[in-house]
Symmetry: C2
Subunit: 146 residues, 2 copies
DNA sequence: GACAATCCCTACAAAATCGATAGGTTTAGT
DNA sequence: ACTAAACCTATCGATTTTGTAGGGATTGTC
């Protein structure tokens, strides 16, 4: 299943997408906006940076921001980084299950599954998600004031 | 990702499908055919039985067999039993990530992903897999004798 | 009825994974 | 210099997963 790490990363990226174009965002800001343990998020953001999904400036007034426009970052990019590939052949995990490099009958199934997932995850950009989140917040704010 | 347990279960079910109609198969047979730890497989087979995928007779000459014809057992049935659902909402794992039962923006993504997977896994029956495995074995045997 | 082969159940040990924390270093703006 | 921020490495604790052990219960065969 999807690791907690990955859930955090997805929400951090969403937060960056929401604040796109308004300068870098600090780890503390992201963490408090999403209730994520700060020191844990620190490691996650580094990983996002190393993978080329986020970028950062150091020192005072520093922080993180999206490395590419939100319209060009997909949910699949984050998932592949943390939890992918989901469906690998068994021989990587338990080398004794498959004999002698015989082709595995299930390999085809895993390939299909992986492919189907990639299709889904490539359809969702963080720009679209941020948009939806924005709508959601407007609606709930309206609900509150009325 | 797919747990080792589940890989074992899939291969055990495949073995049962290969021997369909030839009486029950013992745990030892399945285990040695696939290099699975016997006592571990024991627990797995029980789980498969309790889920209604396999059935068994006890005592001497006993063993396991498919509860339904192999044409009506899908890979998805086994996966759902051991590792499913793969994509659940975040709130079940980390209740603090999402505030106040607010609808999660990612929930839709997970639903789509789960649905896509179900589609793939429902297309593969153990009958078809056993068939492919049979072909494979014939081919490799031919390769060996020539 | 004894025996042996087989499934069945519970508990437990060993190992891996994951979430989270701690302490300290480097960078850059003021 | 001071401070706020990103950066790095190590480690700890809890949970999950893998696998093992010992003992039962069931059924065919002699």
């Amino acid at each position: 299943m999807i690791s907690n790490r990955c859930h955090y990363a997805l929400r951090a990226m969403l937060e960056l997408a929401l604040c796109e174009g308004r300068g870098p965002m600090t780890i503390s800001q992201i963490a408090s906006a999403r209730n994520i343990p700060v020191r844990f998020l620190e490691a996650i953001m580094r990983q996002l940076k190393q993978a080329g999904l986020a970028d950062s400036v150091r020192g005072k007034e520093g922080g993180y921001f999206l490395a590419r426009p939100a319209t060009q970052v997909h949910v699949g990019d984050v998932l592949a980084l943390f939890d992918g590939p989901l469906f690998s052949d068994a021989e990587q995990l338990g080398p004794h299950i498959i004999r002698d490099g015989d082709p595995d009958v299930f390999a085809g199934v895993w390939r299909e599954a992986e492919h189907a997932l990639q299709g889904v995850f490539a359809r969702h950009t963080f720009a679209a998600l941020a948009d939806r989140e924005h709508q959601r917040r407007l609606a709930s704010a309206e609900n509150y004031t009325i």
